[in-house]
Symmetry: C2
Subunit: 336 residues, 2 copies
DNA sequence: TGCTACTATGGAACCAGTTCCAAGATTACG
DNA sequence: CGTAATCTTGGAACTGGTTCCATAGTAGCA
């Protein structure tokens, strides 16, 4: 059907190797011959088979990315960074969406086969000991985004510090009763998500610096999302002594908190201050005070690190930390 | 390095073909032999090379999807439907994000090579005459999502009817001065997006049924997004005789309209009614009246159609139309 | 028992590139 | 002019599966 490299060779009256050399821009071809080959390629409307190429060269020019809940705005933005950097390098992007623990394990396992892609990017999921072994054995280059693991390379932020930033802002405004809304134990377990937990540690650290120990009932956990966060915040606000401010582990959860405040006829920020995390697109719209993290850049940088590994170099430092900052908007104010 | 099918054959003391038959669950293998081969596979920790498999069989078990602006919430939701259906069928998903006209053309061209993937899904972009030819010549199966084209298969909604639904709702409430905010001419041209235009036709049709002809200045166009929509809505609201209701071609644009209303100290829905389109996740949060369309289902159905084409069947009807409905929430009310 | 029909099996040929070695052509230089 | 070094070139071998044909084995049946 379609022309092959041999057809081109015959047509141009040259050898197989010569056509291959032309295709790969080898300098070992005389200008005259190159021209002749290019003519033959044009005449036959020849286009080399990518699969055959991958097969014989062992390179697929493809990168897999494992993204948990890839509809979450923060993940989407990272993906956009990944896609843009990858495309610029001529790589294709294969996406795996992980929404269950089983799928998480299956994906990590599949991808370690180092067969269909030249490398793997893992977003937010922290590989376990045995999975790290598997990936290393298979020799699959891996870049981690938004997480870190022993002996692996990647890019992340300091979530503990981010939590501190958020809560210090509330403390500076004069708040002392500060609640926390974060991911459920189950999610942390199932997916090995760490950011909510780390942000909470920052929350505790900031409070501890002022010798404040928040009561356990001020810290609530639920399945990630607006809906659950709304319920958790409602519980917080119905306490005998409710918090005057709530730090949510993500902007999405902060939106749930805002809904709960609305439900209780509380004005934000007059009656309740709210801080989120991530600075997703809609945060600006809502005037939500939050902690900004460079989502797009994390994807881009993750790709750079991975391509580095694929090329055989070792990036330095292994785990790069991107800067974050507090963005004060309209959902925080001094307590009444 | 890694074991090959020949190693397995040698180890199991059988022929090449037999191992291949075991791998492909051919019934033409005796239970005893099958067992022996499976043992050898386990002992050698053999796992067949996907690339070699694709190469020799011609199937890649991969589908490409071309998604314009894949961070837009509506696109993300479609992608989620695609990923879920594709994964259930054992296919991998290669994503191309299109954000410029040049990239649009390049992607459509690349993908038509029918080499790296068994089929292509195209979201919202309508292939042009020559592109259809190219795809047909290459024999690449194509599924269209959110658009249609002569002789091609896919799934979509009736955008004209959607626009009618939205505007009829406003008319029923008593509005007569109704503005429209949609995509810019440039976008429609560059990407061959059709939905904004079709929704506007629905808008005109609904008004026409009541013999209303909206003045040209009531219809504004700008680059898709919250920011531009806000500016356009501001212009509308500053007219000598401003509209009492605005229909935005998407929820994202409706959010811009809401911002503009806020800027002008207008209360929604008392002073201004707003209707969006798509019913993205955040619409519910905002209490936005909008037109619901099955985004997730469109992705899923698109995959089903594509797999059908890959299998060599022709789906009926060629262009399937999914149901939509108006979701009345808090941003619409009778005019003051 | 002999013939047929079907099952089970082995392995060559094939897919379309890349890689690398051998060899011919050309140039450089003493 | 002869020899070495360098530049070009051709094509066999290789990548790891699938496919299909030939053949051996076996059961069914008259």
């Amino acid at each position: 059907m379609a022309a092959t490299i041999r057809d081109v060779a015959r047509r141009a009256g040259v050898g197989l190797g010569t056509v291959s050399r032309v295709l790969n821009n080898s300098p070992l071809v005389s200008p005259v011959t190159r021209e002749r080959v290019l003519d033959a390629i044009a005449e036959l409307r020849y286009s080399p088979s990518q699969i055959a190429r991958s097969f014989s060269s062992g390179k697929t020019l493809t990168v897999s990315v494992i993204a948990p809940f890839f509809t979450r705005p923060s993940v989407v933005e990272r993906l956009r960074g990944i896609e843009s950097a990858l495309h610029a390098s001529g790589y294709s992007l294969v996406v795996f969406n992980v929404e269950t623990a089983a799928r998480r394990d299956a994906c990590l396992h599949d991808v370690s086969r180092h067969d269909r892609s030249d490398g793997v990017l893992i977003i937010s999921l922290t590989p376990r000991e045995d999975e790290i072994m598997l990936l290393r054995e298979a020799g699959t280059p891996v870049g981690l985004i938004d997480t870190e693991a022993e002996g692996m390379y990647g890019v992340r932020i300091d979530d503990v510090y981010g939590g501190e930033l958020a809560v210090r802002h509330l403390l500076d405004l004069g708040h002392r009763r500060i609640g926390f809304v974060g991911d459920s134990e189950a999610e942390v377990q199932d997916f090995n998500f760490t950011s909510s937990r780390h942000r909470q540690i920052g929350y505790l650290k900031a409070l501890d610096a002022l010798a404040i120990t928040p009561p356990p009932e001020y810290q609530r956990y639920g399945v990630h999302g607006r809906y659950e966060a709304r319920l958790l915040a409602r519980e917080l606000l119905q306490l005998a002594e409710p918090p005057t401010a709530i730090f949510a582990a993500s902007d999405t959860q902060a939106m749930g908190v805002l809904e709960a405040a609305r439900d209780q006829q509380l004005r934000v920020p007059d009656d309740l201050s709210v801080v989120g995390f991530d600075d997703i697109d809609v945060a600006e719209y809502l005037g939500l005070t939050t902690v900004y993290q460079p989502l797009f850049a994390s994807g881009k940088r993750g790709v750079e690190i991975l391509l580095c590994l694929i090329a055989g170099d070792l990036p330095e430092p292994p785990s790069e930390v991107l800067p974050i900052k507090l963005v004060a908007r309209g959902t925080t104010a001094p307590p009444a």
